[in-house]
Amino acid sequence: MGVTLPQSDPQGRPEHYLEGFRNRHGLEESGVEGNVVTLVVNPNIVPAVLATARECLQIMHLSYITVVDRVGSFELTYELLDLRGVSVRVKTAIEGEEPVIDTVTGIYPTANWHEREAYDMFGVAFKGHPDMRRVYMWQDHFDHHPLLKSFEISTKRTFEGLR
């Protein structure tokens, strides 16, 4: 039993993927640039979009989940690689201070630790995650989410104090 990968030549595959996504879901924006397919979607349909990617389009690898804190909303980027040259970027924006989104661990099990890291650093809650706890910071008595813009580290004060 092995994993079959698509053929090596990425000709036509980005457009094929874009078609596949457009046919099944309502996307806010979408486009192809070189070998990269970019989609902007509503946070509610992210698990559905990723399920399409995994099952219908055979895109096997979730590379990472990035969270960017635009003060007032959170922008998530899921990068998927079909392992032969084409990558798909799914972007979402969640409004508000306390972001909640459904988990994709059922579709891409590798997202387990990526979502834990997103929770630890930003406080993004993933509904349905099997093991939601912090991964870098200590578990008790640390109620902050370090990478938020409201959590400041004192670079200037640190270096001034040293001189």
């Binding site: 690898h61 960017v68 392992l83 891409y108 912090r134 910071m137």
Partner: protein, 394 residues
């Protein structure tokens, strides 16, 4: 309920001790009381500060929980306070065994945003340095695997080779370990005049000695085979599901290599094979790494033969201020796929830098694969995954 759970778990197990967990007669004879063993953050396994909370049934691991964060150095947050070129020394300290690859990934991401053209000589030098770094990383990795299995000689030979490579790096970049050599737009300075000759001689000697110093000592050794064949065996689907990349994925048979499939820098101009093995166990991982060492030597020779002339720094202003947008870079580090996502808001400092480190993702393997193995196999499997704690903890 407990029994059913255990049987269901053991159906997916791959270790050699599954008989103990599936055979009801063996279990009932010794009882099913488990010990919780804390393999604490400081332990002699050499791969960094990792805490494993293992639930052991005798010597068999039943469940494993990984606790990380003992080296969390806030790299992503600090990078938001440093200017773009000043983040490069921080990336050096991410995966400190493969510094050049980390710098390369970050530089690719920022150059993606700036849309600058990198001169071919700079690209070729980058590839040369990265492949030398791959040599300097795979050799000690094999050495650490052997050290944890109990053999002391291979690591001495590995570090002897690493010292020689570090001397070459010192002649080129000025530092033994934290190079800060790759800059945004190219490379910091050109190679000195005698370096290509020196690298050529070194690589030829390594090729000649690899068989005698390393492979002959390790490959046919009974103890090595007994301790690594069949240990940590994973199927291709499981490996791809967990998101494993790098030698740990290629040792199951999936040939995915970012240098060939998502080509970057000067790699389209060199020929190399992607080494895979069908075992999926620790021994296969070792063979993949030795194969990659030979391929790296091949790439280094090709680059030295075809090294183009020209400048080493592109047309980049001294003040790096990318337009608003995002940049993505992806490289094949010795441990797997290293990706960088940089978000900029038009100022001197990045708005957000996100590193996707291969060690972080490959560590998920431990929770899936360890149940069913004996306690000493845990250490051998760390040699298969080969994580570096600067990587998983950022």
């Amino acid at each position: 309920m407990l029994e059913q759970e255990r049987v269901a778990e053991s159906a997916a197990l791959s270790g050699r001790a599954t008989e103990r967990l599936t055979n009801p007669y063996l279990r009932n004879e010794f009882g099913l009381e488990t010990i919780d063993l804390n393999v604490g953050p400081q332990h002699p396994a050499m791969h960094g500060l990792l805490r494993l909370i293992l639930e052991l049934d005798g010597e068999t691991v039943v469940r494993c929980d990984t606790v990380m964060g003992y080296l969390h150095r806030c790299q992503e947050k600090i990078a938001e306070n440093r200017m773009y070129p000043a983040v490069i020394p921080l990336t050096d300290r991410l995966d400190y065994f493969a510094n050049m690859h980390m710098e390369h990934g970050y530089c690719l991401a920022v150059e993606d945003m700036l849309d600058v053209e990198i001169p071919p000589r700079a690209d070729a030098i980058r590839v040369l340095m990265c492949e030398l770094m791959r040599l300097a990383s795979h050799l000690p990795s094999t050495g650490f695997l052997m050290l944890e299995l109990g053999a002391f000689t291979p690591i001495l030979y590995a570090f002897r080779e690493r010292e020689r490579i570090q001397n070459i790096f010192e002649a080129v970049t000025g530092a033994r370990m934290m190079f800060h050599y790759l800059r945004i737009g190219g490379v910091k300075a050109d190679l000195p005049a005698d370096i290509p000759e020196r690298i050529w001689e070194y690589v030829e000697s390594l090729e000649a000695n690899l068989q005698r110093d390393f492979v002959d000592l390790i490959e046919g050794n009974e103890i090595f085979v007994a301790r690594t064949r069949g240990v940590g065996r994973m199927s291709q689907e499981k490996a791809v599901e967990i998101g494993v990349t790098g030698p740990a994925l290629r040792c199951t048979g999936v040939d995915f290599d970012i240098r060939r499939d998502y080509p970057y820098s000067w790699y389209p101009n060199v020929e190399f094979d992607v080494i895979t093995d069908t075992g999926g166990d620790v021994e296969a991982g070792y063979r993949v790494r030795i194969g990659e060492i030979k391929q790296s030597i091949r790439i280094v020779k090709q680059v030295l033969e075809k090294l183009p002339e020209g400048e080493v720094m592109g047309d980049v202003s001294r003040r790096i201020r990318p337009p608003e947008g995002e940049g993505f870079g992806r490289v094949e580090s010795p441990r797997g796929e290293f990706a960088v996502h940089v978000v900029s808001d038009g100022s001197d400092v990045p708005y957000r830098v996100h590193y996707r480190d291969p060690s972080f993702v490959n560590m998920q393997l431990l929770q899936e694969i360890l149940p069913g193995h004996y306690l000493p196999d845990v250490i051998a499997i760390m040699g298969l995954i080969d994580p570096v704690s600067g990587g998983w903890d950022k």
